[in-house]
Amino acid sequence: MRLKLIVALFAGGVAISSSAFAHEPSHTAMLSNTCNGCHGTDGASAGFNPTVGGTPQTYIIDQMKKFKSGERPSTIMGRLAKAYSDDEIAAIASYYSTHKYVLAKQETDPAKVARGKEIHKERCEKCHEDNGRSGDDGGTIAGQWKDYLKITFQEFREKKREMPKKMAAKIAGEGPLSDADIDALIDFYASQK
């Protein structure tokens, strides 16, 4: 019990001192902090919304620009992204990309996870490497909230959000993925720890 407490204190101490530098007041911090109300402190989402902290800088820039132009559909990001200049977007993206990516802890179904893993390895790993943890262009899909992934897949499949031709081929091309396949993929990405 006491040992646990000491470890917790120690861990807390480290977290505070190592993050102090990252959080020093700056114009970039000023621009980014305000997004945390929806995306979580340091961009680590506590539910539903996507985690942006620790995702690749190039991906964040790319998505913000697509929200801004309307190329990517959104409920809210399009309206917000329009307020920021390209320089501001680049600053925000660099800020978030330096934070730690925190994988969401969620319940998953082992059978679905196994099935999802198979599909992923076969069709997706090439671009979404390391079980969806990396891949600069495709963002980070491992450990995103299921609600977000579900909405995102729907947008891809209804052709509301554009995907690269090669990804479209894997999802909706020859041998298109079924609803159950998509479900399995979602559980697989959600199961990543």
């Binding site: 807390g12 102090a20 000023m30």
Partner: protein, 432 residues
């Protein structure tokens, strides 16, 4: 009565400040935690205060932060309209302070702040005084009950809930609706702007109508709005009410909602369950009066309320009071140009204020602010709408960034999902 007590303690605080120690009752104003290094005292552990405390500690851990909050837990107003409709448990709206204070080394004092001695830089609380280098005030709102004849500050809300501070009041309104017979009349009054949460009353109308539709379909909600029109997202609310609740702007007898603008309550008879707008009286089975509002009481005792005797004027870059140097005011109590009195606005202001309090304590120049506000409102259990804006400061004034923000194009099921993402994230931010 209570004002007398408060000003007495304020006097005591002031006298402690000018060094009249030794007066027998001075123990009331004892310094409870002697200050060593640099210290910020944050007053109010709600949407603004928790975030200000956290972001000061995150930005500069060498600054000590003391958070003073009168209640053990915090109950969120956002999403409390869903509780009233029976769609959410009030527990989901309740957060505690343990993790926040432990994770960030924030010192928490559970006490009521009764005044601030600006000259001596001391916060006077029911537990004693606390010295500060800078104070941040985020006390939310208090009510202008005196503008409604017959309204008794203590007894009226026990019969006619305002439910504009979440907690027992929320449950009282929910339970009154549950106890009402089918075919009953619910009356609701909306105060003149500005008030806490511009879309809040209209979300509440939607949620009550949703409850009636599914449980008491022969009932009606009659709304008296003191404003000339719906204060936020007018088009979307009217569209949603027409779509789901049979609302007809031209014929109030139709549907579940009868909405009347330019109708200001002037009188209430709590016993007779009757309200009066000077033209007509209305008897109802359940009444929800949202009283007109002003800054939290403590803002008045701290001398930071402006000439309008309602709200607190602040520097738009640092949120430092224009009236009391060293005291910053954020959230509902402050005036921040076009920013609404919302939880998200309080969250954004807290972060701007935190960073600039840190800058000031480190003798550095303040940083230009950047704020976001997004307010979601549920129309049914499955459809929501939102209003949004990004703000910055130009020539000392807060403005919304042109050609951005705005309202949802339509009612949206996706927004009803992502709104849950908002409440989950913002409450987690405040409590960890």
């Amino acid at each position: 009565m209570s004002i007398d007590r408060r000003s007495f303690i304020k006097l005591l605080g002031a006298s402690a400040g000018i060094g009249l120690a030794g007066v027998p009752m001075i123990s009331v104003a004892n310094e409870i935690m002697p200050k060593k290094g640099r210290r910020v005292v944050v007053i109010g552990g709600g949407y603004g205060g928790t975030i200000a405390a956290k972001y000061i500690r995150m930005s500069d851990p060498s600054i000590e932060v003391v958070l003073v909050e009168q209640n053990k837990d915090f109950v969120s107003c956002p999403f409390s309209n869903l509780v009233i409709a029976g769609l959410r448990d009030l527990k989901e709206n309740t957060i505690s302070y343990e993790k926040l204070t432990a994770n960030h080394g924030i010192k928490l004092v559970h006490a009521e702040v009764t005044s601030i001695d600006v000259g001596a830089k001391k916060v006077v609380t029911s537990a004693g005084t606390i010295s500060y280098d800078r104070a941040v005030l985020s006390p939310g709102i208090s009510f202008r009950f005196d503008e409604i004849e017959g309204y008794d500050e203590k007894t009226t809300p026990e019969v006619i809930p305002h439910a504009w501070k979440a907690g027992p009041q929320t449950l009282l309104l929910r339970d009154q609706l549950r106890a009402m017979k089918d075919g009953g009349v619910v009356a609701m009054t909306v105060p003149q702007s500005p008030f806490r949460c511009p879309p809040g009353p209209y979300e509440r109308i939607s949620m009550i109508a949703h409850y009636l539709k599914h449980n008491k379909p022969n009932s009606k909600i009659v709304v008296w709005d003191a404003n000339e029109k719906i204060a936020s997202k007018e088009g979307l609310f009217k569209k949603g009410w027409a779509k789901h609740y049979g609302y007809d702007a031209k014929d109030a007898s139709k549907g579940l909602i009868a909405y009347h603008s330019n109708s200001k309550i002037v009188k209430v008879d709590a016993k007779g369950k009757e309200i009066d707008n000077g033209v007509e009286a209305l008897k109802a089975d359940v009444i929800n009066i949202i009283p007109p509002q002003k800054a939290g009481h403590i803002a008045f005792h701290a001398g930071v309320v402006g000439e309008d005797k309602k709200w607190c004027p602040v520097d738009q870059i640092t949120f430092e009071s224009k009236l009391a140097p060293g005291v910053h005011v954020i959230g509902d109590s402050c005036m921040a140009g076009p920013m609404p009195k919302s939880g998200y606005a309080a969250n954004s202001q807290a972060k701007v204020c935190a960073l600039n309090v840190v800058q000031l304590l480190n003798d550095k120049a303040p940083i230009d602010p950047s704020h976001v506000n997004v307010c979601y409102s549920y129309i049914t259990d499955k459809e929501a709408v939102s209003v949004s804006a990004v703000y910055k400061v130009a020539e000392g004034k807060t403005i919304s960034v042109p050609n951005s923000g705005g309202v949802s194009p339509d009612l949206s099921e996706l927004e009803a999902v992502y709104a849950k993402g908002w409440i989950k994230n913002i409450l987690t931010e405040m409590s960890s």
